[in-house]
Amino acid sequence: MSASRESILARVRAAVADAPETPEPARDYLTTHTPDDPAAILDLLHENLADYRAIVHRATEDELPALIAELLDTHGARSVAVPEGLPAAWLTDTSAEPRTDEGPLTAYELDAIDAVVTGCALAIAETGTIVLDAGPAQGRRALTLVVDLHICVVRAPGQVVASVPQAMPRIDPTRPLTWISGPSATSDIELDRVEGVHGPRTLEVVLLRD
């Protein structure tokens, strides 16, 4: 082990040797700020997603293929990245060219694809956040990053929680995680908000009735 490792740890120990013992942190903060009502939680998710300029839709399983086709069409998307495990039925109505992540796709190949359709691991209503964990229907992190249009399907109420504290126990920290709250944004130029400097400029979210 390196000399610096030993010396840093020794300096830490010396620094806190006389420090008073600290109690276990109190966790008397709330686990949710929202009434336990699935419909209200879903409305809150909808509202908060839209507030951060995601475009939000609601659909049933039957309506989904047509909606996805329509969204791809509206944005003029002619190719669509398809993560492993995406239900085949979701893309039956679109004529956009499907691109599966075989090879896998290089960053340059991803850059040339117009859209990506994914599911998610979880959505958090109070913050308007979607959590991706690279599980089924989500793909590698690069898929939802390099491609400019992201259409994300959230199953409700099954994949929706009210708050961050409710989300934590349902997320596996050993997986690669991306938390998304609205499209890529910057406020670096005189604090004017501009969408999409580097990530997808458009985020369409479909709240799918379970």
Partner: protein, 479 residues
């Protein structure tokens, strides 16, 4: 490319220049006021804010008390997840480690996520000296880097530049570093952002090595966390084959669950959002997703000195939200550059002298770059009592310098500068008056400095009058 902080003038000299810069002050004022008003609203949404703040404080205090244990646990979990952990005692060692790791990949360029720690150690300059180009990819950092400039705010580093200046910088400089700015680039923020997107995407797609800092590291799981807005962070963290993260040792938290506190308090305190657009979390390496090689460089660089100071160590709780900058009447007038450090504003005034020591003129003057109005403490999401630490550090500065000592002169001049700027102080007094009911009878933590007297009730005597009187009499008390 970016400037160095060596040989910086002391706070009052740098601040004087800033105050004369009308553009800078107008930009700063607009920015700080916009952010702080929005922040107040975002915080008010959470009725348990005070408890979250207290929990954040306690988690950090507990971690710092057992920092050795949590660092060892972190090292074990990162290693088990496929990463490699390095330890750097100071800036030179950290730079050496990173440069060697980059060279071992055979590459001569890296893409970078905005990071205070890598700025603190001057990593870009160190890599440049080794023939490695480090490209900043955060829009604001790009503006700063292309402008051969230094960042002036933790969160919005180019806050001192307006859109016209940014367009000029892009037009003039982009071409020499990669894809040039489009013909006829306007100063519309959307056009400027688009120019940056095209310029940087070229670099992201070919990047083989990424360099980042981190907001948190979880000891229990080895998970590293980066909060950001633009997606440049995600690009740097996932597209390259090798990822090197340089992180201060104080950024560790014990458990996965601890993040639930900071995921609620950090975005609301910093960008005044319920959640920032992107948060990336990774644990070692993942099969076929993201970099196949991950290095974590744990940085001391003065942190253990700060840890040894029982009053000052609370500065290590800082989660770099920048809320204290936006409420500080002195920062608003002086600007970030005046603090002569990557850490500006109230947190910079206590952190920089602790990390670097108080021997230099600039570091000795920083604890005086404040009106002690207490607004920074009120907004801090981990309840760092900045005024307490400022007063504590003033005692130390006074202790080290004899009569006529140049360092003490610089310090007193800083205090003079603050007192001579009525607008800065008026804002301070207003904040003080607003929180009057909460005021203790003595200045928080002022210790021997004010022990001999009680703080007068505000506003029975103005804060400024009290301060002036105290400062004149205070010399005796401070020695």
């Amino acid at each position: 490319m970016s400037g160095t902080y060596l040989g910086m003038p002391s706070f009052p000299r740098a601040a004087r220049d800033a105050v004369q810069d009308v553009t800078l002050r107008a930009n700063l004022r607009h920015a700080t006021h916009t952010i702080r008003d929005k922040r107040a609203k975002a915080v008010a949404e959470l009725e348990d804010w005070a408890r979250l703040r207290e929990a954040g404080k306690q988690i950090k205090n507990h971690t710092l008390r057992h920092l050795d244990r949590y660092l060892e646990q972190l090292e074990a979990s990162v290693t088990a997840a496929g990463g490699t952990v390095h330890w750097a005692a100071d800036a030179a060692e950290a730079n050496r480690i990173v440069a060697d790791l980059v060279k071992a990949t055979g590459q001569n360029e890296v893409v970078k996520v905005k990071s205070m720690a890598t700025q603190e150690i001057g990593l870009n300059e160190a890599l440049e000296a080794e023939g490695i180009a480090a490209y900043e990819t955060d829009l604001a950092e790009l503006i700063v880097q292309l402008g051969h400039d230094r960042p002036s705010h933790i969160l919005v580093p180019a806050i001192h530049r307006n859109r016209g200046e940014i367009r000029d910088i892009f037009r003039k400089e982009m071409g020499s570093w990669g894809r040039a700015a489009p013909e006829g680039l306007t100063e519309a923020p959307a056009d400027l952002a688009e120019a940056a997107r095209l310029h940087l995407r070229e670099k992201f797609l070919r990047a083989k090595v990424g360099v980042s800092g981190a907001n948190f590291m979880v000891a229990e799981t080895g998970t590293i966390v980066v909060f950001e807005s633009e997606g440049n962070g995600r690009m740097c963290l996932t597209l390259p084959e090798t990822l090197i993260s340089v992180v201060g040792i104080e950024k560790v938290v014990p458990t996965w669950r601890d993040l639930e506190v900071f995921l609620q308090t950090l975005p609301r305190s910093s960008t005044a959002e319920r959640m920032n657009p992107y948060t990336s979390m990774w644990t070692g390496t993942a099969d076929a997703d993201g970099p196949g090689t991950f290095h974590l460089v744990l940085l001391d660089n003065g942190r253990t000195d700060s840890l040894a100071d029982e009053v000052g160590r609370q500065a290590l709780r800082c989660i770099r939200c920048s809320a204290c900058l936006n409420v500080c009447p002195v920062y608003e007038r002086a600007g970030g550059h005046a603090y002569g450090s990557v850490y500006p504003g109230p947190i910079g005034a206590i952190l920089s002298p602790q990390l670097r020591g108080i021997q230099s003129e600039i570091d000795a003057s920083l604890p005086y770059a404040s009106s002690l109005c207490g607004a920074c403490y009120e907004v801090c999401p981990v309840a760092i009592d900045i005024p307490e630490v400022l007063v504590h550090l003033r005692e130390k500065v006074a202790d080290q310098g004899g009569k006529g000592h140049r360092v003490e002169r610089a310090a007193i001049k800083a205090a003079g500068w603050v007192l001579d700027h009525p607008a800065a102080l008026a804002a301070g007094e207003k904040a003080a008056a607003r929180t009057r009911r909460l005021h203790p009878r003595t200045l928080p933590g002022a210790g021997p400095w004010t022990a001999a007297r009680e703080l007068p009730e505000l506003p029975a005597q103005s804060f400024r009058d009290w301060w002036k009187k105290n400062r004149t009499n205070g010399k005796k008390n401070r020695t």
